[in-house]
Symmetry: C3
Subunit: 359 residues, 3 copies
Amino acid sequence: MEPKSLSINTLSEIVGGRVGTEYDVEHDDRNYDDDAAVTGAAPVVSATAGDATFIADARSMKSLATTRATVVILRERDITKETATGEAALIFVENPHLAMAKAMEVLRPTAHPAPGIAPGATIHDSTTIGADVSIGANAVIEEGARIGDRTVIYPGVYIGHDVEIGPECVLYPNISIMDRSVLGARVIIHAGTVVGSDGFGYAKDGVKYHKIPQTGIVRIADDVEIGASVTIDRAMLGETTIGRGTKIDNLVQIAHNVQIGEDTIIVAQVGIAGSSTVGARVQLGGQVGVVGHVSISDDILIGARGVVTNNLTKPGAYSGFPAINHGDWLRATTISQKLPELRKRVRELEQKINELEED
Amino acid sequence: MEPKSLSINTLSEIVGGRVGTEYDVEHDDRNYDDDAAVTGAAPVVSATAGDATFIADARSMKSLATTRATVVILRERDITKETATGEAALIFVENPHLAMAKAMEVLRPTAHPAPGIAPGATIHDSTTIGADVSIGANAVIEEGARIGDRTVIYPGVYIGHDVEIGPECVLYPNISIMDRSVLGARVIIHAGTVVGSDGFGYAKDGVKYHKIPQTGIVRIADDVEIGASVTIDRAMLGETTIGRGTKIDNLVQIAHNVQIGEDTIIVAQVGIAGSSTVGARVQLGGQVGVVGHVSISDDILIGARGVVTNNLTKPGAYSGFPAINHGDWLRATTISQKLPELRKRVRELEQKINELEED
Amino acid sequence: MEPKSLSINTLSEIVGGRVGTEYDVEHDDRNYDDDAAVTGAAPVVSATAGDATFIADARSMKSLATTRATVVILRERDITKETATGEAALIFVENPHLAMAKAMEVLRPTAHPAPGIAPGATIHDSTTIGADVSIGANAVIEEGARIGDRTVIYPGVYIGHDVEIGPECVLYPNISIMDRSVLGARVIIHAGTVVGSDGFGYAKDGVKYHKIPQTGIVRIADDVEIGASVTIDRAMLGETTIGRGTKIDNLVQIAHNVQIGEDTIIVAQVGIAGSSTVGARVQLGGQVGVVGHVSISDDILIGARGVVTNNLTKPGAYSGFPAINHGDWLRATTISQKLPELRKRVRELEQKINELEED
């Protein structure tokens, strides 16, 4: 894709910012050239002429002096007199991350294959395919599937019977979407992920295990993004659901009949066991575990590696196994790592008591 | 697949139950119509007319009053006078999970592709293919492989050289079965799983690592089910083995030369390091770790997130890192999370002792 | 591939060892036949005539008496008078693992598909393909990719736009290498792995999350090996890098902008969060977690299941959450599991103090 070229003023408008003229007047004679072309984006330390970059917070502001970027996106209040140096033009915004995201969407848009169906794709005659859909080589689409407008299906993707996929979705290579799964609009799924595998359900029959047919589905709402090599099991009966706007990182396991709310963040390698419920605006840190049949209410944060073993109903931060109030966990952990010292103090006390008793 | 329609009496026979007539007489005037057609299955809360459902235990029995299912499978002794209401017909069984599994096998059988070889499959001439095998588009089968009768191979599956696959297996999409792996009868493997990748074996050569060729195989016995995106490494020499009837959940790692017994349950995200042995009827909870070269005897349960660092020989439940008796772990954990309180008590003792000593 | 047949002397030369004649004279009348053909390799307990095997350390030396192998590779100093029995010829080496690796490379070389392009592969006209490359059925190679000499690409591999792959790489089935990733020479990647998926980056926009385009790349240096179903995310800007000679086990997560040094070992199910740095010759044990934006210096070992939450600069072994000195962690853990006893001692002290105070 041909690189864009923008003026600093145009970029500032795109990101909803304000070009740093006042700053220039107050703190130094920085004088930028609005004719300078912004053509790329790069990290602050490796940016070169033509690049936009960003500085997320005051702690990183010393890079402002040395960056070779043409323009830096930042918060005005993060600049101090000490850090107010350098050659770059400035765009002031309230949320540098968000502004940089918007800049990158224009400067370095993600390129997907053009609409069209590759010769090597295998598509059942009954499939309903929307306008401007792209289907890659070796993709397989089974009977009764429906694919929404402008959706992109990369090579090697498998789409099972009666799967419904909304508009403007992106399905990266070698994904498997099993029968009857339902995906909303603008769902992004990264390579290797499996949606709709059987739940892990068996009835004990003596010492042997008898498979319980997993006949429900997975339903994924609009604007969900799912990482690479994630596994989301279909419900035994009913639905496993992922709420609108929720983002799931790589290698996450979501078991059958789990219900996840809206705008929730699930970091890599989290595992959520069967029939548990996770609310809206929840954050599950990396490698968190949630046991089966528990409920996590809205606006709860679970720190990395925590294990949720009971219902959590009060908003706030939790950590540990079992997950407790984050501050309490931190205090307990600090002492826990110094237990030899505590035991020594107990020993000394025992000795002193013995001496006192002998007196 | 055309939906089945069964009478309540027929369904009761299929699940080995008894229709709840006595219950009806004793507790209320519930009067079911044996001509009512059972045509589907659904969770107790969302079931509608025509559905069978089940109630697994007494705690969930209040749903009996409100379910709109045509028939409920349950244990008679779980019903109390308070919960003995509602309109559904009842089928009494000893094991509602098992009975529901059998009902669902009839009411909602898993549909697989019909026998036949898709045009887009790539199959070496030397392959031995049994009767009524189904091979999907873009499946690749290398030289010398053997596929048993009625086995189903979904699209995008890779089957390496000299792989042996027994009868009535199901291999879901995008699985990779590497050279010389052996699968027994009725093995089910979910999408994206890898069987027979190289073990993680290196010999140190100064500071560099020299790859040790991994030339053994993976052998999977009859009636094993393996989840999605599982990885099972081949042995360095010899065999990595999974015993008959064992069930493995998603995203599990099984390293080279691991030996797993029969009827064992391995929950999601478990990792078992090289050359370890897991017995029969073992249960490894979610995210459990087993270090290399240890042995877990038959009939042992490891609680979620436990880490097995030594041989465990006595049947029972273990938890924690290192895994110890589950009850001991529970007690220690409870205190561990209240360490600030314990430390406070030690401080108070120290103060009192000081005062006593000063006296 | 036709099996090799070697004499014991030839094998000894290949592995850089010394045939154990002196040992024979001193300890028993063991007398080997140099004409004996070594044709295979097997574990010491299951080896039969014709096999080479190895014994890694003194603890396993009792197998020497009973093995039916033709030749055993071992360290001379690991043999004692008690274990100096049996029929096998001996090859003395300093590093039995390394020597056995070299023996197996000759006796059981890994067979890959012959050079050539399978009819079912989809390769863009613009691809640069080196000499003697093998590309399997249903592999897809997008515009602008470059594939080095003698590289092997198995079926079902996806290679995105402008990907660069060095010479003598092996890419196993169903791998996805996303746009612009760069792989050095002799890189091995096992089945199902994803390289270059988007990093998990969002800017908060009120309560919703706005995707930050992930426009950087993944760069993998020479002689790296990556296990099955690993996920390595591309950088947001810049590069995610894996250093020369580093080995990564199965189901590992490496987030965006992570930098990993040379000759580092990363065991299965490790997760490394965004922008963290791991040095050279580091070892991360199974299921370790590394939080974002921290740095682990060279020559550091993190024990299995440890969590690195801060920069670690001093070489040595660390364990626990947060990771501390391994010995300190071990002592704290031992007491932690006996906390009920410690609490009991505190209770007894309290009682005694009360009695003393009452006096």
